[in-house]
Symmetry: C2
Subunit: 197 residues, 2 copies
Amino acid sequence: MARPLEFNRDAALDRAMRVFWRQGYQAASLPDLLAEMGISRSSLYAAFGDKRGLMLECLDLFATRTLQILARARDGQPPLEALRQFFDRSVVDPPGGKAEWGCLLVNTVLEMADVDDGLSAHAAARLAQVQAGFEDCLRDAGCPPAQADELAAFLMLVNQGLRVSSRRAQPLQARRDQIATTFRVLSAAIPTEASST
Amino acid sequence: MARPLEFNRDAALDRAMRVFWRQGYQAASLPDLLAEMGISRSSLYAAFGDKRGLMLECLDLFATRTLQILARARDGQPPLEALRQFFDRSVVDPPGGKAEWGCLLVNTVLEMADVDDGLSAHAAARLAQVQAGFEDCLRDAGCPPAQADELAAFLMLVNQGLRVSSRRAQPLQARRDQIATTFRVLSAAIPTEASST
DNA sequence: GATATTCTGGACCGTTCAGTCCAGAATGCA
DNA sequence: TGCATTCTGGACTGAACGGTCCAGAATATC
């Protein structure tokens, strides 16, 4: 009944996600977050509980966005080509800056393992959802279930590796080559109609 | 000329490396390190400068050990089989506990990117040395130079991915399968005499 | 055994952290 | 216009951080 306005919660969450994405959970201080989100301490604690709760929501948001990117790539395109496009996009799309930030889920799994197992496990679970998305895609491409499972795990392996590469100083072309190698090698292993090249 | 004894510097460094390996740079507090190393604050600062200097030495130690493992695997064994053994060992060898800690270099590249670029770059440079070791191995296996470069990058990609997997809750068998898939797929791509399977 | 030199335990420092709290600003309703 | 209610900036708190310092323990030489 009074002062119904706040800030835009979704926008603030999006900003917070970028801070965690770039700096990691521990190095993202409250002042860092507040400055980027453009709100004050009280507002953050009222809206998100605490730093850890905010992080959990950021992990969910990141996973949702990742799954959306995959779903969009699948729209009206052969499944293998969709996967290739997903990987290409993941390497080329810097969030705005000049340097890549990798994958928030991968970053968090590594940073928080043996530090906050709950956070690490939460990120790992979201990563498993993405892997399930790969598997779905491969079944669509004609893989028998057992092989779809195996190759989805392999694709997740490559995805994880790429996200590490993107935080090393490697030039963009090197990562593109790694993707090309992966799909060249992968196409040869799939007994269905292969994608281009 | 007086009190020449200290603690064993190498042993202390080895202990410190394990703490950084398990917990990461930021979460490893001085009390954590001192307790594990069994020395006191003064001794640490006298011997290693500061926390960051200690970390740099730990990164070097880890890289040296990793290269030694690869060199030992190459001894009297076909190069491709040596690579496979290197990966198998890296997955099976837990440092003592029940959970895997991944790779200190990979962990550090991710954790410290955009937080302490110097540390991240140092770890990345050591990772490049390991990649050069892969490349050397592949040339030995009969790969032409250009392909050795490409496949070494691919192997490093897989290595990075595996180190992430090992910090997720995935069962050991899943990671073994990922390695098997990788080498099955890799063998098909090498135009030399392939390794077993 | 005395002394000079080096090492070590632990108290101490300023800084920064995540989280709490309250006074005051802002708004919907009457 | 005035009140009830909700939001917000910023001061504040206790704890933990990395790093410094010094008094005292320990030893090689004489």
